[in-house]
């Protein structure tokens, strides 16, 4: 499909809508526009399954009139439709209640260098479809060449190019572009009724920094075959080692508990804990939107607030909640540049690495579980309770003994943060939420 290189028409459209809204009687207006193009190929058993190539645009509006708020979004960008949408929003705002905390953030001077952020890879336009398809094909082929692998969920290669524009009635005007490349494969091992499965994928801002097909395939195979012939263990309390993807999962839950939105509504068990000790001194957590080339990096948030580094937990002490302007005003906090649509989202949210190698952590565990995957829901920010289906590897005398499945883990995030007794040195930024290997002193495993 033909691609426009640097269209500024969306910036113009956003600005003209801001002016139009003002002329229609709104006090404050914010307009964002997003233009995305995607390419995605799924291959399975050496053949293309799906090939998707497309582009789309949409626009978001926030209107405030007399401290009353209305939102609108549209993928119909015709002028008539957008003007009608804006008029509707201004009209609808009157139906909301007056809310003294509503309003756009004050304009904040900031400069950023798109080059330094390094979140856009110009190479995206040089890649041709055949090259992308070949990468997915190669990855799956390598994975399937392992005799222990009995079926394939397929391999995928995906690229996304996104341009973001934002303008508001206080004079903010900003734009940036970003790219994401992903390569992944999922496989199964074992016979029909005793199947095990897993996957591996690599995502990066730059094409050349993606993991190789060999590495992605090897990881997917390793992660799958290590689960063959699982056992069920009896119900007990043991130390649990979280592999980095599991730490990221745990941190995702922590994020939902330090989100300003959950905190001001008192829907988080951490709501009253600012300035207090919530974990042991091994726990330091940051949110940072300005790390070079990372997947959670962006120059400003969805309200135009410049991103930066926020210390969330410092050696166990809860230092900051992560806020958009609304929750910030509610909490008498500052906006941390975490606005994401109407809510709050992570930039690069991560737990600082420790010094132990993952091998050393396993070695120092007499008896316990390495948590490799969880499934299900079972997270309650209000209480911190965690309850999930789990897959793992059983550890005996500091060594991996056998795989375990059909168990659950249960615990409380508040307790877990105090019981993390080992932190690995293997922090890698594989998504917008990342963490190293961790060991929790004790969790309940339910099995037989």
């Amino acid at each position: 499909m033909k691609k426009q290189k640097h269209p500024s028409d969306l910036m113009d459209l956003a600005e003209s809508l801001v002016s139009f809204g003002r002329s229609q009687g709104a006090d404050e207006i914010e307009v964002s526009a997003v233009e995305g193009t995607e390419f995605n190929v799924d291959v399975r058993h050496g053949k293309i399954e799906n090939l998707v190539e497309a582009g789309s645009r949409y626009l978001g509006i926030k209107v405030i009139k007399e401290k009353k708020t209305a939102f609108a979004t549209s993928s119909d960008l015709s002028k008539n439709s957008l003007q009608r949408l804006m008029r509707n929003a201004i009209h609808r705002a009157e139906f909301a209640n007056c809310d003294e905390y509503a309003g756009l953030p004050p304009l904040k001077e900031d400069t950023f260098d798109q080059e330094v952020l390094d979140i856009y890879d110009p190479e995206i336009s040089d890649l041709d479809a055949q090259e992308k398809i070949a990468l997915a094909m190669k990855t799956e082929k390598i994975a399937l060449s392992d005799r222990r692998i009995t079926n394939s969920h397929g391999a995928s290669f995906e690229t996304k190019e996104i341009k973001i524009y934002l303008a508001n009635s206080l004079g903010f005007k900003g734009a940036y572009e970003e790219t994401i490349f992903s390569l992944g494969v999922g496989v199964q091992a074992g016979e029909t009724d005793k199947k095990v499965e897993d996957f591996w994928s690599s995502s990066h801002r730059r094409f050349r920094n993606l993991e190789t097909p060999e590495r992605v395939a090897k990881k997917a195979v390793e992660r799958t075959v290590r689960q063959i012939h699982p056992r069920k263990v009896r119900t007990q309390n043991v130390p649990v080692i979280f592999e980095p993807p599991m730490t990221a999962w745990l941190l995702g839950f922590l994020f939902s508990c330090v989100s300003g939105m959950a905190v001001y509504q008192r829907l988080s068990f951490l709501a009253d804990k600012l300035g207090k000790k919530v974990g042991n001194e091994k726990i330091t957590v940051f949110d940072d939107g300005r790390m070079r080339g990372k997947l959670g990096t962006r120059p400003f948030d969805s309200e135009g607030i410049p991103t930066g580094q926020t210390t969330v937990i410092d050696k166990g002490m809860l230092k900051n909640f992560l806020c958009n302007i609304y929750s910030a005003r509610k909490l008498k906090h500052r906006s941390t540049g975490n606005a994401d649509g109407a809510g709050v989202g992570p930039n690069n949210f991560y737990l600082k690495a420790g010094e132990m190698t993952p091998e050393a952590i396993i070695k120092s565990t007499d008896r316990g579980l390495i948590l490799i995957r969880t499934i299900g829901h079972g997270l309650n920010p209000l209480t911190g309770e965690i309850s999930r289906g789990a897959y793992g590897l059983w550890v005996e005398n500091g060594e991996i003994a056998y795989p375990v499945s059909e168990i659950t883990i249960a615990g409380n995030l508040g307790t877990i943060l105090k019981q993390i007794d080992m932190v690995g040195n293997d922090l890698e930024f594989r998504g917008s939420i990342s963490g190293p290997t961790l060991r929790i002193q004790e969790l309940t495993i339910a099995g037989e």
Partner: protein, 480 residues
């Protein structure tokens, strides 16, 4: 070209997309310009209105419009797909050619002339469309729910109410000459209550809706019922004990527990997983997989249900589809691609989240049919066990391993419900659990009309149901 009279429920896509039938026919042919078995255009125009109330005020309202089209070409088992929300002739041509590139025969095919048709179903004849209702009235409904929730008990400290109404117009045209449209309403009113007692806080949830009109909240499910149920759950949880851990008999409450059927059985009977042989069920068609008393169906044709539709997102007229009868596996949920590759008839289960997505086999309203046991007798048959009352959700893998997150339950002691129990996870494998369904009650109920199922990143509204069920033994993941 010949003027075709619009079918029932059609939406005037010409005005929203600024294109005509002739343009669509042209694009269908262009999409087959490199060969291929099938081309299709899916046009979607969706309006979603929402009202959010929390901290005792109407915080905001929103209006969201989704407008776009997707062009698909199938060649053997390969799918080419492109979508756009720019409807200029050049963009549509570009999208058609992109989708076309999946076929590499260089032997153009010709699409059949479009023939207007319509579904025999009329599953949501709504008399009081929310779309036409005034914002004032909708806000009153939200406030009324809030009023009931916040006055239910002094310990209720916060009530969050959400109301959304959606109208989704779809038109599907394809190279076999199909031209069909549908207009699908979807309403949802939910209430989340937070209760507090001596520093302890717990949340309860309830809601309702479906493909209904505003009068549903007068005639079928009132705001007070929704509010009371959410508030009561939050209060129960304040007194709840931590769940037991280990294997024990489990009784599933009627209604909400339908999610167990959805996860443990439904997903793995979606045809794509069986065509690809990744599901444990792929080699079990017509084989016995559970006890003789088990009958499981997926029925997209239940009037006014959230998971229902007059046509699926490929334009197929859906049918009630038997999945398991007398414990025997009798069918899969099919979309066009899988049905063709497997040589099985279409069932009308090809659904997609929106125009940016390729359709895949999905559930609609999935349920386990009534059995013969009295629910009270089922409870009485358990000396010590766990009663799963409400669920947060569930998840399953192709290997058949699943979990359900129970948000509230009860201990069963001496055949009676005793202490309320909070957050627990149930875990098992599907073949195993089907064998362990020991008794099926005679009280089939459907769960809340608020459920959304996720698969491959696509969300779809669904409903599920079941009568009281006794599972002889299941692992309950609690705290020791």
């Amino acid at each position: 070209m010949k003027r075709i009279s619009p079918p029932q429920n059609s939406f005037p896509f010409e005005t929203h997309f600024n294109i005509g039938l002739a343009d669509l026919e042209k694009a269908l042919n262009l999409a087959l310009s490199r060969g291929g078995d099938f081309s299709e255009i899916f046009l979607e125009y969706k309006i979603i209105n929402a009202i959010r109330m929390e901290e005792e005020i109407i915080k905001e309202t929103s209006e969201n419009i989704v407008l776009g089209l997707g062009i698909r070409v199938i060649s053997g088992d390969r799918t080419g797909y492109a979508y756009t929300n720019d409807f200029s002739p050049a963009k549509i041509k570009g999208a058609a050619l992109t989708a076309a590139s999946i076929a590499e025969e260089d032997l153009p095919r010709i699409a059949a002339r479009l023939q207007s048709s319509h579904s025999p179903h009329d599953l949501y004849p709504v008399s009081s469309s929310a779309h036409e209702e005034s914002l004032d009235k909708k806000i009153s409904l939200v406030k009324e729910t809030h009023e009931f929730a916040s006055h239910f008990d002094k310990r209720i400290k916060e009530a969050k109410i959400m109301f959304t109404d959606q109208t989704r117009h779809t038109t599907i045209v394809n190279s076999e000459g199909l031209f069909i449209s549908d207009t699908q309403p979807l309403l949802k009113l939910t209430c989340l209550c937070v209760a507090e007692k001596s520093g302890k806080r717990e949340a309860g949830f309830s809601g309702g809706g479906g493909r209904v009109g505003m009068d549903y909240f007068k005639k079928n499910l009132s705001p007070s019922q929704i509010a009371n149920e959410a508030a009561q759950e939050a209060l129960n949880l304040l007194e709840a004990v931590v769940p037991p851990a280990g294997e024990m008999p489990v009784v599933l409450a009627p209604g909400h527990s339908g999610v167990v059927i959805h996860e443990a059985v439904g997903h793995l009977l979606e045809a794509d997983f069986n065509r690809k042989k990744t599901s444990v069920f792929w080699d079990k068609l017509s084989k016995k997989v559970g006890d003789e008393q088990i009958f499981i169906y997926d029925d997209p044709t239940i009037p006014f249900f959230r998971g229902s539709y007059n046509i699926d997102d490929e334009g197929t007229v859906p049918e009630k589809t038997p999945l398991i009868e007398q414990g025997r596996l009798v069918g899969f949920l099919q979309d066009r691609l899988s049905s063709k590759l497997m040589g099985n008839p279409l069932t009308g289960h090809g659904r997609r989240q929106d125009y940016t997505c390729i359709p895949i086999p999905r559930m609609s309203n999935t349920y386990i049919e009534n059995g013969e046991y009295d629910p009270e007798d089922i409870l009485k048959s358990v000396d010590r066990g766990f009663y799963a009352h409400k669920f947060q959700g569930g998840q399953v893998e192709d290997s058949g391993k699943f979990t359900f997150s129970v948000s509230s339950g009860f201990l069963i002691e001496g055949g009676k419900l005793t202490a309320p129990v909070k957050q627990a996870t149930l875990i098992g494998t599907n073949i195993d659990i089907l064998q362990k369904i020991e008794r099926i009650g005679s009280d089939l109920t459907f769960g809340l009309q608020t459920g959304t199922c996720g698969k491959e990143g696509q969300a779809a509204p669904v409903t599920d149901g079941c009568p009281t069920l006794k599972i002889s033994s299941m692992t309950v993941g609690g705290l020791k």
